[in-house]
């Protein structure tokens, strides 16, 4: 997959913005606060209809304007397609070759995106919610069935919790309805748990090898899925009926799942150095690229937000070596000297200054 060009209107600081990209490596340099990350954020949004920075879509709309728009020509399966996403105060809409798609789930996954940003170390160190978000976003971009199940699971969970709260006040409680809504929830839950398990198994198998390459070691990376429940669903749920009514919420389910990471059998969260954690995340991202390629038949675009300079030379070279020549990459950096350009061929460098972008001529001595 290749993003040939990108047009933004009213996206964060950009009133209008236009750029044509290189097919392989694109390096965007500039000082902090000039709008480098925003370009990657818009590419992420273009593929996944979400920001990696915020859960509130409206944040990307430029101040004092009504809507933000991302427009782009992409190439996939040797065909050019037009993608566009419009984010307004009331919601977002996506178009594929000028046709508005009635469901975002039909759109997500046309352009696959893998991003690696500094805040991604939170995937290991942060709260479980971030790991569930990771699962949903990444599986969502390769499986419409998963998105469908997830959407319905959330709707029914809301129904169930509302029912539990309304049961608190009732003398005669309708356990038939609770039972039915629980069964409906379990119908989706079972499928989601299996898909999450299968996805993590596959990612773990690739990531262990990637980790050894990046760290040039024999270290064993393990990724473990910790489902809140994965068998005897109905019995477990039944045993919590009374408790759920008291709390007005659902004790078990995929909204309580977690993922654990181990390096040589030790929990990564507690035992790994900053550098090791960065390598774990990087291995997972590289594994994702291979995994998406195996399913979609083409490489996702790779967004590296200010992370290259944080890797030591060995890790940086291992990363660059791991990037297939057919992958389109977007790299942001404040200091171009920290990127080992000798290891890359086919790149373009852009400089960004106060929202204005220009392509740099490679022979410029002060690059």
């Amino acid at each position: 997959m290749k993003v040939k060009n990108l047009n933004l209107s009213n996206f964060r600081l950009y009133e209008t913005f236009k750029i044509s990209f290189n097919d392989h490596i694109n390096i965007i340099k500039g000082n902090n606060g000039q709008g480098k990350t925003t370009i990657l954020e818009s590419l992420y949004f273009l593929g996944l209809t979400k920001s990696h920075k915020t859960n509130n879509d409206k944040d990307v709309i430029k101040n004092n304007t009504q809507y933000a728009k991302i427009n782009s020509l992409i190439n996939f399966n040797k065909k050019d397609s037009q993608l566009s996403v419009v984010i307004s105060k009331t919601g977002k809409k996506a178009k594929y070759n000028q046709i508005e798609l009635s469901k975002l789930s039909e759109y997500i996954g046309i352009l696959n995106v893998v991003m690696f940003a500094p805040e991604d170390i939170e995937l290991i160190k942060g709260n479980p919610q971030l790991r569930r978000r990771f699962l949903d976003l990444e599986i969502g971009q390769i499986s419409k069935k998963y998105l469908f199940n997830l959407q319905n699971y959330r709707k029914i969970l809301k129904e169930r919790n509302n029912l539990l709260k309304s049961m608190q006040q009732k003398q005669v409680k309708d356990f038939i309805l609770l039972d039915i809504i629980t069964d409906q929830l379990l119908g989706y839950l079972d499928d989601i748990v299996k898909t999450r398990k299968d996805f993590l198994n596959k990612i773990a198998k690739i990531a262990i090898l990637k980790y050894q390459e990046i760290s040039k070691s024999n270290d064993q990376l393990q990724i473990k899925y910790i489902p809140s429940i994965d068998k005897n669903y109905k019995t477990e749920f039944l045993s919590k009926y009374q408790y759920d009514i008291i709390t007005g919420s659902t004790s078990y389910g995929i909204h309580k799942d977690d993922v654990e990471f181990y390096l040589n059998d030790k929990p990564a969260k507690a035992h790994c150095s900053q550098g090791e954690i960065r390598s774990i995340v990087l291995s997972i991202k590289l594994a994702l690229i291979d995994f998406i390629k195996s399913i979609k038949g083409d490489f996702p675009i790779l967004l590296l937000d200010d992370v290259l300079s944080e890797l030591d030379e060995i890790r940086q070279n291992q990363l660059l070596k791991n990037i297939n020549i057919n992958t389109q990459v977007f790299i942001t950096t404040t200091n171009i000297k920290e990127i080992n350009l000798a290891k890359i061929n086919n790149y373009k460098i852009f400089e960004i200054n106060n929202g204005q972008i220009k392509e740099c001529i490679k022979d410029e001595p002060n690059l």
């Binding site: 469908f148 709707k155 169930r160 029912l163 309708d174 309805l177 039915i180 809504i181 069964d183 409906q184």
Partner: protein, 199 residues
């Protein structure tokens, strides 16, 4: 520009219709004021008033009607052994267009959804139970929507009819008639597979 009060009120009334936004409501209201004759306006007022006085829910099936009971419940030639259960009166109109079903109907006037504050006691369910005490009824066909709420409602009715001896069926969902399998999305296809029948 600010509209006169009465025009503004009319505009707001039009906005109560589904799918009518501010612009459309404005057009309707202005059209009413500038293009309709006094007779036409009286005619419209008359139709609205007649709806209030002449239209009511059929006490048997819940369908909207101007006679008691409604024309379907009254029709002795209909097959009284089958009832199709739907969410809204408008679903009956669609079903009747098929011209291939000749049984009875029951309108629930909604679907169970705790998040919208609608429980089993808030829909037209007790009158269905009352009707089912009649031995003549052999089959209940659940034709609530294939949404989560419609499914909850169907499952609920199935559960309370367990052991009643009544044959309970649910409308199938899957690939639209005349459609090509290769164009069906994966979700529709897997639903169609789940609902497959002996052939």
């Amino acid at each position: 520009m600010k509209y006169p009060r009465a025009l503004d009120d009319l505009l707001e009334s039009f906005r109560k219709y589904p799918g009518v936004g501010k612009k459309t409501a404005e057009r309707y209201a202005l059209h009413t004021v500038t293009k309709f004759s006094e007779e036409e306006i009286d005619e419209i007022i008359g139709s609205f008033q007649r709806i209030k006085t002449e239209i009511f829910d059929c006490p048997i099936c819940g369908n909207i009607t101007d006679q008691n009971p409604c024309y379907i419940c009254k029709d002795d030639s209909r097959d009284k052994s089958k009832i199709i259960v739907v969410e809204e009166s408008k679903d009956i109109i669609v079903m009747e267009k098929m011209n291939s079903y000749h049984g009875l109907y029951h309108v629930l006037k909604g679907a169970i959804s705790p998040s919208n504050g609608v429980g089993p006691e808030d829909i037209n369910l007790s009158s269905l139970m009352e009707r089912l005490k009649d031995d003549k009824i052999k089959e209940v066909i659940l034709a609530t929507n294939l949404s989560n709420e419609g499914e909850t409602t169907a499952l609920y009715i199935r559960r309370i009819l367990e052991g009643s001896g009544i044959f309970v069926t649910r409308i199938a969902h899957g690939i639209p008639a005349g459609a090509n399998i290769e164009y069906a999305d994966e979700v529709t296809l897997s639903k169609a597979l789940e609902g497959r029948r002996e052939f």
